[in-house]
Every structure is written in structure tokens, then in C-alpha cells.
């Protein structure tokens, strides 16, 4: 199910502006990798290049190689739509489809790709995904109600259920808890712990405690100066990053002596 991602010498551009330069890393399979760093340092941008969502923005492009299952996902013959089926994504703000019920939201990935399935298959996928996202017990009696009627934390877990319903290899999470209260955040962190047994997870977070709690490896992104491209400063196991980082800037950032 899960796979690793090899990133070598990746440069990311918005038009003429270079947003991120020279990233090399290996995201391990069945583990949680966290990206931390100040705002505007390119960690979200980099995350979006991992499933080719970056190029949705007009003028945006990527140079370099990102290997997924032995294929360069930026090779000309690769279809971005096929990449996104392998690499799912959860966004900063919960974004369930407003026209769909909870049930249809979970099935959206399958239905929108016009996969044919029987009612019982569909029911199975919905139950399995909602259980996987720790939401089943809360919504099992109102699957036909609109997804927008749930609370913010429930909506975010619905979005996770929707992302895992298509059974991707990798799950990207862009600050999934930043719009949530501590209890919903705890629920989602627990969920990340469970999900990593099946999926490769990459998470961007502004909360360093969160990175320390959930991740196995951590990457620290930083800017040299305002207007300069962001770059990967250090990539190490989370334990090492938070106790004895190799780089001084990492230590300064993590211990709050940044700037």
C-alpha cells in the first residue's frame, strides 16, 4: 500500500519567481514526515509539488525529479491526474463538497471518477473510510445529511475519510489542524498515528509540539532573506531534530530563538 518518495534537486517556480530551491530528501514509507518552518518559506508549496497540485496555479512549474514507485512523477508521459490518485491530500481548511451528503462526500473520489460499484460495495467503502477517519460513530445515523452541517473538526475528518476512500499510497496534509480546536486536533493526531501503519504521511505544521508528537522525521525549511527562495535547511529524524539538531538555525528556530 505505502510507498516512499525520493526527491532530488527540486526547484519550484511561480512564473519567474523561484519559491523553493534545491530540495533533496527521501520520505520513508509507512512513517510520518513533518515539515516545519516560518511562513512563506515554501513548505506548503513543496508539499503541493508532491502530488502535482502546484501546477494547478497558472505559471507555476517544477524542475527536478520526484520518484514515486520508481517513476519520475514529473516525466512528460506521466498524467498528473494519475499521480493525484496515488497521492491524496488534506487541506488547511476543511472543504467538503457543499452539494453532497456525508455519504456522497466520502464516495466523491470514486464517484467522480465514475467507478461503477454496487450499493453494498459503496456502503463498505463509506463505513471503512469513516471508521478509518474516526468519524463513523459520530455520523453513522445521519449519512444522508449534508457534509457542511458537521462541526469544523468533523468536517476535517470527513475530508480525511474522503481522501483515504480512494486508497492512495501517500497522504499529504497541509496544516490540517490549524483551523481546529485542541480536542479536534488531538482526534486528528490520534488518527495520523493509526493511518501511518497503512499510508505514507507528509504533514506541514506550524505547531512544533505537533511535529514532535506525530512525526518520525522532520524537515526544516527556511528563507535566507525576504524575497529569496526557501530551502531545506535540515532533514533528520524528529528525535534528533528536537534534541540535538545538526544545524544552528534549526536549533534557534525550534527553541524559539529565531531571527
Amino acid at each position: 500500500m505505502a510507498t516512499s518518495i525520493d526527491v532530488s534537486d527540486v526547484h519550484i517556480y511561480y512564473g519567474d519567481f523561484k519559491a523553493v530551491e534545491g530540495v533533496n530528501m527521501t520520505v520513508k514509507a509507512r512513517s510520518v514526515t513533518a515539515f516545519i518552518g516560518p511562513s512563506g518559506c515554501g513548505k506548503s508549496t513543496f508539499l503541493r509539488t508532491l502530488n502535482r497540485m502546484h501546477e494547478v496555479i497558472p505559471g507555476a512549474r517544477v524542475e527536478g525529479k520526484i520518484m514515486l514507485q520508481g517513476t519520475d512523477m514529473y516525466a512528460p508521459e506521466v498524467d498528473p491526474v494519475a499521480v493525484r490518485r496515488q497521492v491524496g491530500m488534506v487541506f488547511q481548511r476543511p472543504n467538503p463538497f457543499p452539494t453532497m451528503s456525508i455519504y456522497d462526500n466520502v464516495l466523491a473520489g470514486n464517484r467522480l471518477n465514475s467507478k461503477r460499484m454496487s450499493k453494498s460495495e459503496a456502503d463498505d467503502i463509506v463505513e471503512k473510510s469513516l471508521r478509518g477517519a474516526n468519524l463513523w460513530n459520530e455520523v453513522k445515523d445521519r449519512l444522508n445529511r449534508p457534509g457542511m452541517g458537521l462541526s469544523g473538526g468533523q468536517q476535517q475528518r470527513l475530508c480525511i475519510a474522503r481522501a483515504i476512500a480512494v486508497e492512495p499510497q501517500v497522504l499529504l496534509m497541509d496544516e490540517p489542524c490549524s483551523a481546529l480546536d485542541p480536542i479536534s486536533t488531538a482526534a486528528i493526531e490520534d488518527l495520523i498515528h493509526e493511518l501511518k501503519t497503512t499510508y505514507t504521511i507528509v504533514i506541514v505544521t506550524h505547531n512544533m509540539q505537533q511535529a514532535a508528537r506525530v512525526s518520525d522525521e522532520t524537515g526544516f525549511f527556511n528563507l535566507k532573506a525576504a524575497g529569496q527562495p526557501g530551502h531545506l535547511v535540515e532533514f533528520n529524524s524528529t528525535k534528533k531534530m528536537f534534541t540535538n539538531p545538526d544545524n544552528e538555525a534549526t536549533e534557534a528556530y525550534i527553541s524559539g530563538r529565531f531571527g
Binding site: 493525484r84 491524496g88 472543504n95 457543499p98 445529511r145 457542511m148 474522503r162
Partner: protein, 346 residues
């Protein structure tokens, strides 16, 4: 509750809650007095409005403070402006009902004007059918063209030279005088078929007027769909065209339908282009590619042009039918909008 000398600063100097009602009744009384003393109805209404706008702030200035007085003055002005804006609408509806209702009877709605002479009973059935056929043609052509153009502008061509050019041309099209659209449709078919007038040409003329409205309103609705939803769909591995068809359009369908219906009700009352392109006739003709076709606005125009008692009454009857159709369309738009609106479950 509290007597004057024990008022707290927050309670001090407030007019009674029903003060506006009080002043309103007094103002109406003043207006009625003017009418009784021989002033016209309009003078009475103006007096009442003036008394209300001046008296309430004055009273407030004495009892309350400057801010409250200004607040009451502006509130009064806003309400007056609202009432003034409503006057023409209510007047128009009342006048059409008053003059048209007497004309409406089953024969008027089911007879055409074929060989109707003098005071014989005729009707607008031919015009009603013509309006329906021509409007359907215009809708059938301009809705797909308009919606697909808007999809191109918002989803595919954002910021490109092509889309800027299209937006500019759509803006120019919005400003085309309707009679020019009629002349264009007539001239176009005259080049191919020689000078003839028929329903399809009228439909084409209306299409020219309808497309820009449909493009504009659909564009606005598509812009309202958050990019979050598009990205959520892409991230599930859904291709772009399917995202548009299954996520973007369903989310905005209520607004698009409302826009389309409003565009229809705008062109349904066009007279000049239809007179030029579809001509006029007293006979029922439901074949849009053969012979002149009557429509409601042209019916009103020609009946009014007769300058006879019967002509005037038929014109008002036609106007009433036209207004009822437009109102029904608006009602449909609202109901459809309600049905399709995304449900929040709250």
C-alpha cells in the same frame, strides 16, 4: 421604571419605543388634513413625508442627543427613498391590472386576430404562441453558448489574451441597441434567403441580446465557487472537465439558473428587433422557419397603434399577460434556486 432623577447615564434621554409610529400617525394626519383642505393627493403625501422626516429628528434632538437625532433623520430619509422607489412599480402593476383585467377572458387567451373586423372578439393566442416559440429558440441557442463561454473564461482562459478579448467583446455586445440586433438578424437571413421575416430570425436577434447577459451572470456565479472545492476534487485524482461538470457546476447551478431566467425575462419584452426580424401577423403561426410570427410585445405595439377603444384595451390586456409571464418566470427562478441551493444542514 426609574424616575427622572434616578436615571443612569445609559438610560437617560431615550424616546419611547413607539415614537416613530407616533410621529408616523401624526404625519399621516397632517397629510390627510392637507387633502381635506383641498390639496391634491400628491401634496398630501409629500406633506406627510416631510412632517415625518422633520418632526422625529426634532423631537429626538430635544429629548435625546445629536447622534440619535441624525440617526433618526437618516433612517427617515432611507425609508422615504425606499418608498419613492416602490411607487412606480406599484403604480405600474396597479395600472396594468386596472386597465387589462377587464379585457382578459377565455376567448382573448385562445383566439387569434385572424379575420377579426370591427368590434368582433379577437385574442392574443397567436402572439402568445409566437413569444413562446421565439423565446424558446433564443434560450436554446444562447444558454449553451453563454454557459460554455463563461466556463472557458473562468476555468480555462483565466488571464489569457483570448479571455480578455472575449470579455471585451461580451461587454461590447451588452451595449448593442436591441434594434441593431434585429436589423442584423434580418440582414443576415436576407443575404441568404432574400428579404423575408420569420420566427427563427427573431429568435436569433434575441440570442444576440441574451448571450452577454448569460455569460456575465454565469461568470459571476462560477467565480463564487471557492478554489478549495476545485483543489479538493483535483486532489482526489478527478480530471479537470469532470471537476467542472460534477463539482463546480452543481455548486453554482442555483445562481446560473436564476441568471438564465432573468436573461429570458429581459428579452421576452423586446419589441423592436422582433418587429424587424419576425414581422407581424394576425394569424397563428407556430412554424419558426416559415412566415411572419406574432409576439406579445409586437401585439401590444400594433394594437396600441390602432388608436381605437378596442385596440387600447387589447394592448393593456397583452401587457398584463406579458407581465404575468415575466413574474411567473421570476417565481420559477426563485423556486429553482431554492431547490438547487447547497444545503448546509443547519
Amino acid at each position: 421604571m426609574s424616575t427622572l432623577d434616578t436615571l443612569s447615564p445609559m438610560e437617560a434621554g431615550r424616546l419611547p419605543r413607539n415614537a416613530p409610529l407616533f410621529v408616523g400617525v401624526a404625519a399621516l394626519a397632517a397629510g390627510a388634513l392637507v387633502v381635506v383642505l383641498g390639496g391634491s393627493l400628491v401634496l398630501g403625501a409629500v406633506t406627510a413625508a416631510l412632517v415625518f422626516i422633520i418632526a422625529l429628528p426634532l423631537w429626538s434632538a430635544v429629548v435625546e442627543n445629536r447622534r440619535a437625532a441624525v440617526d433618526r433623520l437618516v433612517t427617515g430619509l432611507v425609508w422615504t427613498a425606499f418608498a419613492v422607489a416602490l411607487v412606480p412599480l406599484i403604480w405600474l402593476v396597479w395600472m396594468v391590472l386596472d386597465r387589462g383585467l377587464a379585457t382578459i377572458n377565455p376567448e382573448f387567451l385562445t383566439y387569434s386576430m385572424r379575420s377579426v373586423i370591427g368590434d368582433e372578439q379577437g385574442g392574443l393566442y397567436h402572439a402568445l404562441m409566437g413569444t413562446i416559440v421565439i423565446t424558446l429558440i433564443a434560450t436554446a441557442i444562447s444558454v449553451p453558448v453563454g454557459i460554455f463561454a463563461a466556463i472557458y473564461l473562468i476555468e480555462y482562459g483565466k488571464g489569457t489574451k483570448m479571455s480578455r478579448a472575449i470579455t471585451f467583446l461580451v461587454d461590447v455586445m451588452t451595449g448593442i441597441p436591441s434594434i441593431v440586433a434585429g436589423l442584423f438578424a434580418f440582414a443576415m437571413f436576407a443575404l441568404i434567403l432574400g428579404p423575408t421575416r420569420f420566427g427563427l430570425a427573431g429568435g436569433i436577434a434575441l440570442t444576440l441580446l441574451m448571450i452577454p447577459t448569460v455569460v456575465r451572470s454565469t461568470e459571476e456565479m462560477l467565480k463564487l465557487v471557492p478554489d478549495d472545492l476545485r483543489e479538493a476534487s483535483y486532489a482526489l485524482g478527478v480530471p479537470k472537465w469532470r471537476t467542472i461538470a460534477k463539482v463546480v457546476l452543481p455548486t453554482s447551478v442555483a445562481g446560473i439558473v436564476t441568471g438564465v431566467v432573468l436573461a429570458i425575462s429581459r428579452v421576452i419584452g423586446e419589441t423592436a428587433p422582433l418587429l424587424v426580424a419576425a414581422g407581424f401577423t394576425n394569424n397563428l403561426n407556430t412554424n419558426p422557419v416559415d412566415g411572419s410570427m406574432m409576439t406579445l410585445p409586437v401585439f401590444i405595439f400594433t394594437q396600441f397603434g390602432q388608436a381605437t377603444e378596442k385596440g387600447y384595451s387589447y394592448a393593456w390586456g397583452g401587457a398584463l399577460v406579458l407581465i404575468v409571464i415575466v413574474m411567473l418566470l421570476n417565481l420559477t427562478a426563485r423556486i429553482v434556486g431554492k431547490i438547487f441551493a447547497p444545503k448546509t444542514g443547519r
